[in-house]
């Protein structure tokens, strides 16, 4: 197929050619970035939590309040929950992954440091490891004699009584690697405010209750403090028990004290679903925009293609009369579209890169991976060819006899 005649034709139709090119370029640039953002969001939604999600239930009760017997009541609650058939583990803790409310603290490697090395979230509560289904990959889980009561610890901290303050801590693998890259974390010390804590265990993964910066999503530590805040996690033996266990647990807790308000009661699957609802909505919206963009662009190519064919009916007739076959005509329009799409894609790639740079500055997105460029190009080539097929077939159907009319 000769390209030169096509180019010389295009030079006579600069505006139309320019419009097709710019439309393809803009679509290419936006779709590349939109798909990239969609993938980012999907990655986020599939974030590992490190807990046995399909077996976990979360119940939060309000206003056990500052009553004198809160520890006794928590013990009673836990004992009752353990009795429910289908319950494997229970834990009373201070916060839960994807729970959105968290307590965090700055961590130092040296108590004399002015600024903290990193900010990590603090989980505390007895039986968190088995209760959440955490995987301890180095060292040991926290043991019963590591534990102290939360209120006792708080008083001790204030009174500077180091005896009643925990001395050991578990942290996540990610946090360990960030603190001591390439080194063994076990036995090392971190400082919470000026309290020294020795790392005795490393868990594979434990995501934070609320995630600001994705890079810090698993900077979590587990402190050996008993909690009595009415936040319970129940781990069931198998996922199909969940609904039954949740209903039974709520009934049981109501029975123990009917004056409590149930703040939250849900499975971890629901918590994950709720936690990422914004990401899901955004991804859905972007998919919609991409489809709409591609459709609008395709329709634009169809419209302009039809116009072009109608405008050139006579020339096509002449070519046919001079011996061009139908497939010659078909190829002509297809090649023309291919050329325009190629220029559009080339411009679009540069634009896509530019938009990505802007997004990197304003929305803290990473760099667009190179794989998006060939895939985007292929997609637009295919759409261009499909869109031009109709008008090109109509062009190929122009009979040679048109050439003899009104010349």
């Amino acid at each position: 197929m000769e390209i030169l005649p096509i180019l010389s034709t295009l030079r006579r139709h600069k505006i139309t050619a320019f419009l097709v090119i710019i439309e393809i370029a803009l679509t290419c640039a936006i779709v590349c970035n939109a798909v990239f953002i969609i993938n980012q969001r999907l990655d986020r939604m599939n974030m590992q939590s490190g807990v046995d999600e399909h077996n976990l239930l979360h119940i939060e009760l309000a206003d056990i309040g500052v009553t004198k017997d809160e520890k006794a009541r928590t013990a009673e609650d836990l004992a009752a929950l353990r009795q429910i058939p289908g319950v494997a583990q229970v834990a009373s803790l201070n916060q839960v992954p994807f729970g959105n409310s968290s307590s965090n603290a700055g961590i130092k490697l040296d108590p004399k440091q002015n600024l903290s090395t990193l900010n990590a979230t603090m989980y505390s509560g007895e039986n968190i490891g088995p209760g959440l289904g955490l995987q301890v990959i180095a060292g040991r889980d926290l043991q019963p004699d590591d534990f102290m009561d939360f209120d006792v610890v708080m008083r001790a901290v204030h009174a500077r009584d180091t005896k009643s303050i925990p001395h050991v801590i578990m942290i996540t693998q990610n946090m360990a690697q960030r603190l001591w890259p390439g080194q063994q974390a076990l036995g090392k010390q971190i400082y919470l405010s000026d309290i020294p804590l020795t790392v005795v265990g490393v868990v594979k993964e434990l995501v934070r209750p609320s995630i600001g910066d994705d890079a810090a999503k698993s900077y979590s530590m587990i402190l050996p403090m008993r909690e009595a805040r009415g936040v319970y996690v129940i781990r069931t033996a198998s996922p199909q028990d969940r609904d039954r266990v949740l209903a039974a647990a709520l009934a049981k807790l109501k029975e123990i004290n009917p004056h409590r308000v149930v703040l939250k009661k849900h499975t971890f699957d629901d918590m994950r679903h709720d936690f990422f609802q914004n990401d899901r909505a955004m991804a859905g919206l972007l998919v919609g925009v991409c489809v709409a963009l591609l459709v609008v662009t395709a329709l634009g190519i169809v419209g302009l293609g039809s116009f072009w064919v109608a405008q050139r009916r006579r020339q096509i007739g002449v070519r046919r009369a001079l011996g061009a076959t139908r497939s010659n005509i078909l190829r002509y329009f297809q090649t023309e579209n291919f050329l325009l799409a190629t220029i559009g894609i080339a411009v679009g790639m540069v634009l896509a890169y530019g938009i990505n740079l802007l997004l990197m500055v304003h929305y803290e997105l990473p760099r667009l991976p190179a794989i998006y460029f060939p895939v985007g190009a292929l997609l637009l080539w295919v759409i261009g060819q499909l869109a031009v097929l109709g008008p090109a077939m109509r062009a190929a159907a122009v009979p040679p006899v048109v050439a003899t009319r009104s010349v």
């Binding site: 505006i15 139309t16 419009l19 097709v20 710019i22 439309e23 803009l26 679509t27 936006i30 939109a34 953002i37 309000a62 206003d63 309040g65 500052v66 002015n114 708080m154 008083r155 901290v157 204030h158 405010s193 600001g212 910066d213 308000v261 703040l263 709720d274 609802q277 914004n278 909505a281 955004m282 919206l285 972007l286 925009v289 709409a292 963009l293 609008v296 662009t297 329709l299 634009g300 169809v302 419209g303 302009l304 039809s306 116009f307 072009w308 109608a310 405008q311 304003h362 929305y363 803290e364 009104s406």
Partner: protein, 440 residues
């Protein structure tokens, strides 16, 4: 002449319905997308106190001994600083704000308690923020000091507990204390819930919670601290507090202070007052550094906190890019449409129509397409806003079309199509009549 062009435009649009439909669709979809996001952005970035916001300020000092002057102070104040600044009464109006969760019930009905948010503030809050009352009114300045057990409730809560009746004088149980209702608000939904905005720079763009509904119950500040002692959340602490939830003497920041300053001289005076206060606290040894004070106006504060969620901003950019593509698409299609009629245009020109007349005719046709596209775009905008309202975000209930946005829909639609029509119309009016007539 205009009526004639309009008639011609409709005829021409009917002649090629496919092409017309394509153009109308492109404009409608582009308008629908951009107006939906623009409406949301407009609602979220608006001034929550139009006409007053320039007089409202948010003073900050830095009580953290470990920090230095070159950093941004914390977004909230510690108890001592907030109460000192408030009780000096150096501004035209001043109010401390803090919110907390608590169990709330109507002791008369015996219904089970519900968890609600309580705002604890001082009496100036209501006149300063122009809060509308349905029944009763605010408590007095004396009630602030004497820790009166009184409360103002929201229209929502009044509807829920008292079926909308005048409940002034009735009793409400907040946690374990009874308070007397002195006022019931009219529906009040500032967007954002500006007086509680803080910490936006740590939110990573996820700021949709700033558009939450206002609290159900409002109590005097000191009363609230007593009633709900042990349930207050710190913004942050520089060392561990002795008791969780009781922050009056804790090394923590957790209170917001808003002041109203009616003219520039007072603003300058108050800035000096805050700086002097910090210097005095440093002299007393409570602050280690004094230079780190700020006082932003309400809109500056919202801007500093980046209250419009980054997803919403991203969506707005995206939809305008989308509209641009629709614009180019329409340019192409209009070009096709006008040039296809070169013969007709040639005849009109030969019969004496000027270039300007042909141009005007083409522009009228573009505008008609824009108008029809705008009409469909309006429907799509309404659909889009309905979709936003189905989203589980705090600002969902705000997403409605108001009059300016309704008008803007058409302005944008006609503007887009007229802009798209300029180039094709210029080409059309340059058609050479003689050449066209020859080929007819």
């Amino acid at each position: 002449m205009f009526a004639y062009y309009l008639d011609l435009a409709f005829r021409s649009l009917r002649r090629n319905t496919m092409l017309t439909a394509l153009m109308v669709l492109a404009i409608a979809v582009g308008i629908g997308a951009s107006m939906t996001t623009l409406t949301v952005t407009h609602l979220l970035s608006g001034d929550p106190l139009p006409g007053r916001s320039q007089h409202i300020f948010y003073p900050q000092v830095d009580p953290d001994p470990k920090r230095t002057d070159d950093k941004e102070p914390y977004d909230k104040l510690d108890y001592q600083s907030a109460v000192d600044l408030w009780s000096a009464h150096r501004a035209d109006r001043q109010a401390i704000v803090v919110d907390s969760r608590l169990k709330l019930s109507d002791p008369a009905s015996g219904a089970p308690p519900v968890m609600s948010m309580m705002l604890s503030t001082t009496s100036d809050f209501f006149p300063m923020f122009d809060v509308p009352f349905q029944y009763g009114g605010a408590w007095s300045a004396q009630d602030d000091v004497s820790r009166a057990r009184v409360a103002v409730i929201s229209a929502d809560l009044n509807q829920k507990l008292f079926a909308g009746a005048n409940s002034v004088g009735r009793t409400l149980r907040l946690r374990n204390s009874d308070v007397r209702i002195v006022g019931v608000l009219k529906p009040w939904r500032p967007s954002p819930q500006f007086y509680m905005v803080a910490g936006g720079r740590f939110a990573n763009g996820d700021t949709s919670d700033y558009y939450s509904k206002t609290e159900d119950v409002i109590t005097p500040f000191f009363t609230g601290l007593e009633i709900n002692d042990g349930s207050f959340w710190q913004f942050t602490c520089w060392s561990l507090p002795a008791r969780t939830g009781h922050l009056q003497d804790a090394p923590c920041v957790w209170l917001g202070l808003w002041v109203q300053l009616d003219n520039a001289a007072k603003v300058a005076d108050y800035r000096r007052f805050v700086a002097d206060y910090a210097a005095q606290q440093k002299a007393l040894g409570r602050f280690t550094h004094a230079g780190n004070t700020r006082m932003r106006s309400l809109m500056e504060w919202l801007d500093f906190n980046g209250v419009v969620p980054s997803d919403v901003r991203l969506q707005t950019w995206l939809s305008f890019a989308f509209l641009t593509i629709c614009l180019f698409n329409t340019v192409g299609l209009l070009l096709a449409k006008f040039l296809r009629r070169s013969g007709e245009i040639g005849v009109r020109r030969a019969l004496g129509a000027s270039r300007a007349a042909v141009f005007a005719q083409c522009m009228v046709e573009s505008a008609v397409i824009g108008l029809i596209g705008g009409l469909f775009g309006l429907l799509l905008t309404l659909l889009g806003l309905w979709l936003v309202r189905q989203q589980p975000v705090a600002y969902a209930d705000l997403a409605r079309l108001d009059v300016p946005m309704f008008l803007l829909t058409f302005v944008l639609a006609v503007g887009t199509s007229v802009l798209a029509g300029v180039l094709p119309a210029l080409r059309a009016c340059r058609v050479a009549p003689a050449w066209q007539l020859k080929t007819l």
